[in-house]
Amino acid sequence: MRRLAGMIPFIFLVSITVFALIKLPPGDFVQNYAAALAAAGETVDDAMMASMRQRYGLDQPIWIQYWDWISGVVVGDFGYSFQWQQPVVNLIGERMGLTFVLSASTLLFTWAVALPIGVYSAVRRYSIGDYIFTFIGFVGLAVPGFLMGLVLMYVGVSVFHADVGGLFSPPFVDAPWSWARVVDLAKHLWIPMVILGTGGAASLIRIMRANLLDQLHQPYVDTARAKGLSEFTLLVRYPIRIALNPFVSTIGWVLPNLVSGSVIISIVLNLPTAGPVLLQALLGQDQYLAGAFLLLMCTLTVIGTLVSDILLALLDPRIRFQ
């Protein structure tokens, strides 16, 4: 509860930062729009621009614009997208949902991969397997996600003659939600999931390995061994259990990273998530659309941190009793 209360000023701060960020570029949407029209040969006079500004509220001082925006956000109104000529809510709903699905499933994938490999690497330290995983881990860290996406796309095109982009097969792209669409999503989801998760998994493997190596030589392990526990029980019950704590606390930064990474991957793989639209909105100064995406992404990561804190408190009595 205390943490929840602490989140509100935090998200408020985030919203100010976000708004400041999207107002940072010189000029505004109307100017960009006019420039685009001018390029197309139409002329836009100042009176038209002024009336447009007035319609969108862009002639108001910045803090009033902020206030109008944020008071709308609180009641679920994220404003109006200038580029798309429709309310922001209509645009972000499914895209944020898919971003969340992608991030969350990647997180699970990351753990499912990192935990056993990390444990294996620590327990069989300096074995051939450890060296192989360490090396793969290093490569995973070194190859940026979008590059991996590009390589996979190349492999997909040249070997399988299939486009690996997108999250849906063509018939499902605009279809309403159905069970078949979910199945189709699951079929496509794994490629971005693997691409996005590799970097995170690589660093988590290293964290898990280091934590566990630390714990393996703690005196309480000797105590447990002296009680006559088998090596496996011992390992699961003590060092792994305790090494999990710092592991769990990594959600706090893994999730922001995943949300971050998904933006670029989505652009490369042309996924219908938040990334491509955010990029367009930022470039076109579609302020409320960009703002909504940024705000929601930041909130998502804050919630992730909160979840990891709660899990940590559940796992570690020392934190509970503090």
């Binding site: 940072l24 940026p144 590059l147 190349y154």
Partner: protein, 370 residues
């Protein structure tokens, strides 16, 4: 006198020397060091090492495939060690009639060390035309790593791109380091309210998803700025986020050192605040800082690559690995010219080498951490 003093070369070895001795045992890290020295040397002397001017284009050589180097030349009956490549000629695919490059075994382009070729101004002020290697005849083109969609040599472009990509890492890390040492040091040395405030700021920044923020900041840059201004602004944008990690490391070590009794002793010895910080505390931090910095550079390089890849970082005609990868953004170009992905390999090698190096440095700096 109870025990005899240990003898050998080590008792007069300074900490720096001991750290170096430990580091040398770390084979991967030594390998990383060698690779990085090599890469930075290449970046520094890009004009000389690249065989061609990176902007030399030829509309007839669009997407020219890579040519393999043959070392043994048997053209005049016997054989000699004369490296050459087979020239390619343009032919039409008999079925689709698409233009295709096919190797022309009859024409060989011989490669030489230290040839005269495209002119350049090294570091913008040393004119020259000497290249480390290149074709015998400066009018020939040799594409060891293929050509891009304007018929430019990808190898030369990667070599020139190294300069921007690698230096952004260094400059960015310097900015981050200054921010990190200042705030981390303040936080760790004074503690209390300053510490609290700096910590909250760092927590705030860390919990923001970096790439959307970078995008937003980078999108705010006017497109008509000169490349140098963009370059520096991008660097600053990247470091604005990157300093937090360094600040945390510095703070943690400062807090730990502050309670170490040799620092207290220095104060009791009458050392001034300045001397305590610069003579006693900072030297104990250097190896940790160097290690963290080494691990921060790859993050910076990756960030620049990502931004430029999305078209928000360095803009053509500026060359960086990210800007080069932008060429490979769509499936069609990758499918027809997969060698456009090679700048990515350069990124991966660099990041890998820096990670090895940083890990080795960290282990050497802190032998008791494990």
């Amino acid at each position: 006198m109870s025990a005899t003093l240990t003898h050998g070369g080590l008792e007069t070895a300074s900490q720096a020397k001991l750290t170096w001795l430990r580091f040398r045992r770390h084979k991967l890290a030594m390998f990383g060091l060698v690779v990085m020295v090599l890469l930075y040397t290449i970046a520094l002397f890009a004009e000389f090492i690249a065989p061609f001017n990176p902007d030399r284009s030829n509309a007839r050589l669009v997407f020219h495939p890579p040519q393999a180097i043959h070392f043994i030349d048997d053209s005049d009956g016997g054989w000699a060690l004369r490296p050459y490549v087979n020239a390619f000629r343009l032919a039409r695919d008999p079925v689709t009639l698409e233009p295709r490059f096919v190797p022309d075994a009859s024409r060989r382009i011989y490669l030489h060390w230290f040839v005269r070729g495209d002119g350049y101004d090294m570091w913008t002020f040393i004119p020259g035309n000497l290249h480390l290697f290149g074709p015998e005849n400066p009018r020939d083109m040799v594409f060891l790593l293929g050509a891009d969609r304007q018929g430019r040599d990808v190898l030369s472009r990667i070599i020139h791109g190294a300069r921007a990509s690698l230096s952004i890492g260094l400059v960015g890390v310097t900015v981050s380091l200054m921010l990190g040492i200042t705030f981390g040091g303040l936080s760790g040395y004074y503690g209390g309210r300053i510490d609290w405030f700096v910590q909250r700021v760092i927590e705030f920044i860390i919990s923001l998803p970096t790439i959307p923020i970078w995008l937003a900041l980078a999108a705010a840059l006017p497109k008509d700025w000169p490349p140098m201004a963009i370059y520096f602004t991008i660097t600053v944008i990247i470091s604005l986020i990157g300093w937090t990690e360094l600040a945390r490391v510095v703070r943690g070590r400062f807090l730990q050192l502050r309670s170490d009794s040799f620092v207290t002793s220095a104060w009791l010895d009458g050392c001034s605040q300045k001397r305590i910080i610069f003579r006693h505390m900072l030297p104990s931090l250097t190896s940790h800082i160097i290690a963290s910095v080494t691990l921060a550079i790859p993050m910076m390089i990756l960030a620049e690559t990502s931004l430029s890849f999305l078209g928000l970082g360095l803009q053509p005609p500026a060359i960086s690995w990210g800007a080069l990868l932008k060429e490979a953004q769509n499936v069609q170009s990758i499918a027809s010219a997969p060698w456009l992905l090679l700048p990515g390999a350069a990124v991966a090698i660099t990041v890998l080498a820096l990670n090895f190096l940083g890990d080795g440095l960290r282990d050497a700096a802190d032998p008791h951490a494990h």
